[in-house]
Symmetry: C2
Amino acid sequence: MNRCLFAGPKSRSLSETRTLATYVVDGGVQDIPADVRHEAKRAVLNYVGCALGGSHEQAVDAAVRALSPYSGPPTASILGRTERMDPLHASLINGISSHVHDYDDTTPKNYIHPSSPVASALFAYASVNPVRGEDFLNAFVLGFEAESRIGNAVYPAHYDAGWHITGTAGVFGATAAIGKLIQLSEDQMVWALGLAATQAAGLREMFGSMAKALHPGRAAQNGYAAALLAQAGFTAGEHSLEGPRGFAAVTAGTYDLAKITAGLGVDYDLRANTYKPFPCGIVIHPTIDGCIQIREEYNLNPETIAAVRLRVAPLVLDLCNKRNVTVGLEGKFSVYHGAALGLVRGKAGLLESTDEAVNDPAIKRVRECTTAVPDPALTEDQAHIEVELRNGEKLEVFIEQSLGNVHRPMTDRELEGKFRDHAVPVLPASQVEKLIEFCWQIVDVEDCRTILV
Amino acid sequence: MNRCLFAGPKSRSLSETRTLATYVVDGGVQDIPADVRHEAKRAVLNYVGCALGGSHEQAVDAAVRALSPYSGPPTASILGRTERMDPLHASLINGISSHVHDYDDTTPKNYIHPSSPVASALFAYASVNPVRGEDFLNAFVLGFEAESRIGNAVYPAHYDAGWHITGTAGVFGATAAIGKLIQLSEDQMVWALGLAATQAAGLREMFGSMAKALHPGRAAQNGYAAALLAQAGFTAGEHSLEGPRGFAAVTAGTYDLAKITAGLGVDYDLRANTYKPFPCGIVIHPTIDGCIQIREEYNLNPETIAAVRLRVAPLVLDLCNKRNVTVGLEGKFSVYHGAALGLVRGKAGLLESTDEAVNDPAIKRVRECTTAVPDPALTEDQAHIEVELRNGEKLEVFIEQSLGNVHRPMTDRELEGKFRDHAVPVLPASQVEKLIEFCWQIVDVEDCRTILV
């Protein structure tokens, strides 16, 4: 690694861009610790599920409709859809699908949704080129780390300024991952990172519109293209991260470039990655979680419920106090609906976010007998739930750490359950199980196309 | 216009984004004053010349090589090249070609190179769709004004922060122009501007590399795609310009949104557009200009020159003091070479930027007998030139306003000369003249494809 820090033939000075490029060019799968490899597989499994689950949303349909006439030879598969497009467009569509439900992974270190930009490009690439599973996983880890470290360097000033960091940092991840697979030289990787930097975009003003999901899509597509351009000799500024007019200086009032390089190859941000168990506002998660626990522990018959009383962090009621719920989307912003789902159905996945679910009479009845009070003593990861039955009996639970946060991660089996929830409506059952197997056994796969094509 | 400022069915509040969208949706060619129409034709002529002149540069070859395998059906023509690509990729390549020599238009109001993003998308579009010349010109003017006004609102803080404003403001121009031609509704135009805003990118750190020319290319391509996505119902935030996490707030420390809407449809930034007469650092222009004048006025035989003495603004020697010139690119940064070109060849176009020209013995001799002193009393638009002949005679000229600046614009004939300089090496002579004719007569053209295909 040190070779990039000292004067070589070109008399190079210290450069975070070059150090990172060298790391990506040199990094081999054997360098990745076992726990990080396992977390990468979990991230890929969660990613594929999210992409399948989102693959038929309106935003995805609109993008496919608008851009299909401009697609190159339709060689690449799109996760969850039968259309094919060229690999750049497939990257874009995968990116939109996987983020459209806001159900993909994230890390509290920088609030990037890190897998979407990286894996969206990789799955498109690997559907048309021979890629060994271990090389796929290696490229994923390197892309993830490059993206997350650049995010760490500019977070929080960058995010606070209004950048959607999933798009802006994401493009570096896709660039590094594809650049790794097409075996860019060190100089080419430096250019590719420069081409990524100068295409980094995405405004938080888009939150609440389809354009939010465009960000990881464009990040995947532009990162992929950045690697191709660099390979063809298309040059870019060589100090794209640290230069006075580079990514950090231009997009963040304060930043710490040391976070890009400190502990590189030793500390992995993948270890801090988290997965959402429910496709709704994260502050409702402990309530849903607790209600599912009560239902299971007491083998609850929902018809016996007389009242539900919640104590939650005040922020929960600021964000998710919706009482009158008639369409699926509104349910995502109602802590009352979340409680009812947990108690009546024992789950709150994508199938419970529909218009049908919010209008289910059994759910509606429980939702309407649920009340909530704010309790400043509780964090947003906590909730206290009391269920009073018609016979006067009271059932209680206190959730101290919400399922899915970094202290209480979803188990591998829970991630598989989430995956099936996404995948079953989209794919034949046999393929669903094959994809789960693919994710866990990825390092032994000879050619990913055997699964993806 | 007022209808967007007051509560309608959706109870709209004042929004620069919507006001601008309405202007673009409603604007007709008959609304454009005659002088602005004429300036638009000059801008288009200058643009096409630059695109032809740059169309075989290394950066363009690399981009075509890297991205051709990903192009959709090759229906669109690329200015100056025989390959065809889909219209989005053709927009990209046109954008790179037209900016790669840094020879395209600009305005001192905001230093955007405004025509490249707008016209690059329009020429790609008009090569595959029936477009009447007057609609082309109208879309060009509307795109130009949208882009330039957004640029004015964020300039100079945005540019000073390190954004390459040609890329960041440029994407709005391409969006507006294509959105106009595909007849977006007002709501769709608002979304399209949002999709533009959230893809706006380009860092000044890329200056000096090929990536600088990528910026107007991606602006053209992404703006074109933004219009297509919006047409397909892909939504975006509706306050992309003025919102608290919108383009202005996120990318400029200070900004003035009133500049987007003040005098809309009355004041045209096209009136302040300028064209470079020489493809080199603008601070050398008065020296070249003066040397050409001396050569012409005195019918100078360059062999009679004994010495050349320049007085120039100090900045000229900071930027362009290169004495030892052996390759074409170096000549662009040598005020001595500029003087020699003017005196020996009487011109300093693209054909004088070659390795051949800098090594021409006659030019080399004059370059080496040229000296320059800084004079703080001179502006960068001025130069004093004294030529001493072998017989002791002294010829002098003082340039007060440099050719090409807003006070001494290039004439239509001079623009035609620049165009031929670009076009002759690329196209048959008959086609060169037909393209000039096309630009001047554009409002009478029934279908632009008759010229462009």
